[in-house]
């Protein structure tokens, strides 16, 4: 119960920090707080391995990469305030989406079956993930590694090409 309350409050507080902070470094800190709440939610949902990966990849990797991008683009550190019209329209659309989906969730009934106790024990669940990754979902797993490789190469190409083009322009 305490963990669930912690997950909910950290998630919502971090998300609020993301949308309300003009200082981008603090907004990224808010994202890290929200992700910590999500990781605790994963822990409560009987997925300790996924919770650990969430902390390692998201908080340890993605938010740090974002901080680097902010540091490299000095102008981006303090976000320009959006116009009032834009904020009102955005808030209205988000609120309408929230109301519609919340209505759908509360009105519908979901079938609930529970896993067998032995299947839910933490060791069994990590073992099942490893087996399925190399067995049932092996094609997806290998495709994902190719996607990551292409993404890394693409990121390097995009981030460096503009710079060399810029220096050529200066020479000309």
């Amino acid at each position: 119960m305490i963990l669930e309350a912690l997950a909910g409050s950290l998630g919502v507080a971090g998300a609020m920090l993301v949308v309300l902070q003009r200082n981008m470094v603090r907004a990224i800190f808010g994202l890290a707080v929200a992700l910590l709440g999500v990781a605790i939610a994963f822990l409560v949902l009987d997925a300790p391995f996924v919770a650990a990966m969430e902390v390692l990849i998201y908080i340890g990797g993605i938010t740090v990469a974002m901080v680097f991008a902010i540091m490299l683009s000095a102008e981006g550190r303090l976000a320009v305030e959006a116009s009032a019209l834009r904020r009102v329209v955005g808030a209205l659309l988000a609120a309408a989406f929230f109301a519609g989906v919340a209505y759908a969730i509360t009105e519908s009934s979901f079938p609930t079956t529970s896993l067998a106790a032995e299947a839910r024990s933490e060791l069994a669940s990590v073992e099942a993930i490893g087996r399925d990754l190399l067995d049932r979902f092996n094609v997806v797993f290998e495709l994902l590694s190719i996607v990551l490789l292409v993404a890394i190469l693409g990121a390097v190409t995009i981030a460096t090409r503009e710079g060399s083009a810029g220096t050529e322009d200066k020479k000309a």
Binding site: A15, M24, L35, A41, V50, E81, A82, F97, A128, A159
Partner: protein
């Protein structure tokens, strides 16, 4: 906590992320909003995995795939942000209007 409570928690995160994407002008702030929405979807996957399915791992594996794809997406998006910044000295989306019809 019931399944519906988890879905509502994920919905709060998704709506806040949607607001960030719609209302903020900084490219990295928009990217943070997308990340919030992806994490809301991950909570939904794990909640349905926990409460509905009998399979021991499928929901967790889908979430691991989403996390991996999000890492690739952030790498590409941040390199685009840096390229835009080098070209324009700004990462404000309202300056990027060459393709506006």
């Amino acid at each position: 906590m019931t399944l519906q409570t988890w879905l509502l928690f994920a919905l709060v995160l998704f709506a806040v992320g949607l607001y960030a994407v719609l209302a903020r002008r900084n490219l990295i702030a928009i990217l943070i909003g997308v990340e919030l929405m992806l994490n809301a979807a991950n909570i939904n996957f794990l909640a349905f995995h926990r409460f509905v399915t009998n399979d021991p791992a499928v929901g967790q594996i889908v979430v691991l795939f989403v996390i991996g794809l999000a890492a690739a997406e952030v790498a590409i998006a941040l390199s685009i942000v840096l390229a835009v910044y080098r070209e324009r000295k700004a990462i404000d989306v309202q300056d990027l209007e060459e393709l506006k019809g």
